[in-house]
Symmetry: C2
Subunit: 390 residues, 2 copies
């Protein structure tokens, strides 16, 4: 949704894909080197490297660095960078380092003399609450692409890593609309599917769908390995199901101390629920409660079959148009209202008017939920309209 020229771009106004309303915006999809703008990437591992490849293919001039000089050199040789080092004139800085170092780097960039006054910083780390709180800056937009890991090496870098992947952005009440818009446009241009969540919701949800499943996979694998020491036949019996369940445990363990430490509250809460659910299931088995076991497994089977095969959009979508007042916090407020009534936002965009930050916030939601969201958002102080899309 980076080129909705029918909305605002038909009379010389900047295209809505514009990162900052400057001239560079109109070349978002051009591939001529450096013509899209300048991005600095800190950390050139799997995600930073893939970003470099994808951005350069879209015409960005990409400068990057890494704590390992060899890895930065590898990214340069591999075509992910135009230059190694810092780029003080970059409009966007992506911090693609492990979570523990993100806040320090982001704060340094945002206060660094010589940077453009509207420079926007984002990151790719897997836990958002502590990072967003620690940076606490209107031009920092927390991000988390649900693909790869910031600690994989450059060797796995792939310009298509993000195509079709969900990429969470976590604006906070203080986030500048223009800053969010710039990152949202960048992410969308990579083919990723933007999901807007509060940092806290993000952390709770990834504990459920990512962190705790990973810990469980590791636990299953360790238990099987321990048993296999006593009985070599065990691993020969490990068929597809066991392989599927433990595959993620093969990943690089290096990010997990950070993730577990930073997302400890949500992980502990989710683990406790899981332990309690397993205890309940244990009681069914212990009591030979066939009906209880069948119900438990039938529920799971039904839920798994209903799991969409990938991030999907429902058939009938509607667009909510919310005139954006000239103050901060609207984005976080509107997305919180949507989350509160269970409305999923399939796409989000800010269509600029000519007057700088003023504009229209466009939300794409399921047609069946659009009027409910319109009423709730209007009630929250943002009168808006619904437009059904054909």
């Amino acid at each position: 949704m980076t080129s909705r020229s029918e909305d605002v771009g038909s009379s010389g106004l900047p295209d809505s894909g514009s990162p900052d309303g400057s001239e560079s915006a109109t070349v978002y999809r051009a591939a001529a080197p450096g013509t899209a703008g300048r991005v600095q990437v800190v950390g050139t591992g799997l995600i930073g490297g893939s970003l470099g490849l994808a951005l350069r293919a879209r015409g960005w001039f990409v400068t990057g660095s890494d704590t390992s000089a060899e890895r930065a050199a590898q990214a340069l040789r591999g075509g992910a960078l135009d230059s190694v080092g810092e780029d003080l004139s970059a409009q966007i800085v992506v911090v693609a380092t492990p979570a523990s170092s993100v806040a320090g780097i982001a704060r340094r960039v945002l206060t660094q003399p010589g940077r453009p006054p509207d420079v926007v910083v984002t990151d790719v780390s897997g836990v958002k609450g502590p990072v967003v709180a620690a940076v606490d800056h209107p031009r920092f937009v927390g991000g988390h692409p649900m693909a790869g890991s910031e600690q994989g090496g450059f060797d796995g870098a792939d310009p298509e890593l993000f195509t079709g992947a969900s990429w969470v952005l976590t604006p906070s009440p203080g986030t500048e609309l223009a800053a969010f818009d710039r990152i949202q446009s960048l992410v969308t241009s990579l083919g990723a599917d933007v999901v807007v969540l509060s940092p806290e919701d993000h952390d709770r949800l990834v504990a459920v769908v990512s962190h705790v499943p990973h810990l469980v996979a590791a636990t299953l694998m360790n238990a099987a390995a321990r048993d296999a020491e006593h009985d070599a036949a065990l691993l020969r019996l490990a068929a597809g199901g066991f392989r599927d369940m433990t595959r993620i445990a093969a990943g690089h363990p290096g990010i997990w101390p950070d993730v577990c430490a930073e997302n400890a509250p949500a992980i502990l809460d989710t683990l406790d629920h899981l332990l309690s659910d397993l205890e309940e299931l244990r009681k069914f088995v212990s009591a030979r409660d066939r009906a209880g076991i069948l119900r438990f497994l039938a529920d799971a089977s039904e839920a798994r079959r209903a799991l969409p095969s990938r991030a999907f959009r429902p058939e009938g979508l509607a667009e909510l148009r919310i005139p954006v007042p000239d103050r901060e916090g609207v984005l976080a407020e509107v997305t919180a209202v949507a989350g509160g009534i269970g409305v999923n936002i399939y796409d989000i965009e800010i269509a600029h008017s000519a007057e700088g930050q003023r504009g229209v916030l466009l939300l794409l939601v399921a047609g069946t939920q659009a009027t409910g969201l319109r009423d709730a958002v209007s009630e929250a102080g943002y009168p808006c309209t619904v437009h059904n899309l054909s």
Copy 2:
């Protein structure tokens, strides 16, 4: 290993792949209809149906039945059966029904008037201890192909379902060697990899690699589905890892009440270990013990990477040749000795001599473990020799 003619078959003696030393043995791999012998399949679902397809392709005359007449008719139309009903002259009867009905059917066949006196019965159910104990017959050989499920419908039937799969056989001390040999030859001819375990070892190992992982997958899926009711974004964040971990939960829930009831002791024991391991991991997270978390996940990563990509054979194999005395129990005793000292049996075969059941038991094991096993087996009363294979 169905045609080791250099051992016993070079002078007109039956090929070692012979199920019973009769003429039909020599056509094991012929595809002419009905020339390999006669098999009756009870239950024509996924496994029974796949077996019918695979056996008919190898020249067997296959008769089958199902509690659903329609499903039996479907198997006939689908080419898995030559005939619907019972075949009193079948040499082998495969009971491919849910676990709870196996013992009754097997006992009835084994005592049915008009059956050949050497008819052999096997089954395909996922829990072996209770079934083997309930049938308790020298010509019943418990089996468990680690592929598909006895409750999948015929629609998924596939003659290649067993190619490369592990297929556990669970002889007990009373099992007749000739009966075991006949089933082992049949299974091997389907391209499956025979794994010989005691019924108790089988049940313990499948609890670890199959039953408890399945219950955990269902628990994770149910927890996520519950959360998704409150936050629609959750399922959009479910990336590959979560999908992998919950995939098996989509399976047909119908077999699980039986499996959980019949394998309850091993499942409860494994669940208790898992719960205790998860509690330990919870302590690491709660204490922000980065070193503990890293060690736990690094162990899992290493173990998962070491998991063979499928059933594998080590490079250097050696063959143990054990002259088989004319009494029962040798098979269970020898495999128990091997299991007791942690030796994996990669293949097993009985090379017949001309005198009926007497012959040589051939075990294929890792070269590095062969002399240890030879000493242990000899000490147990079965003097034997090692032959290193090139």
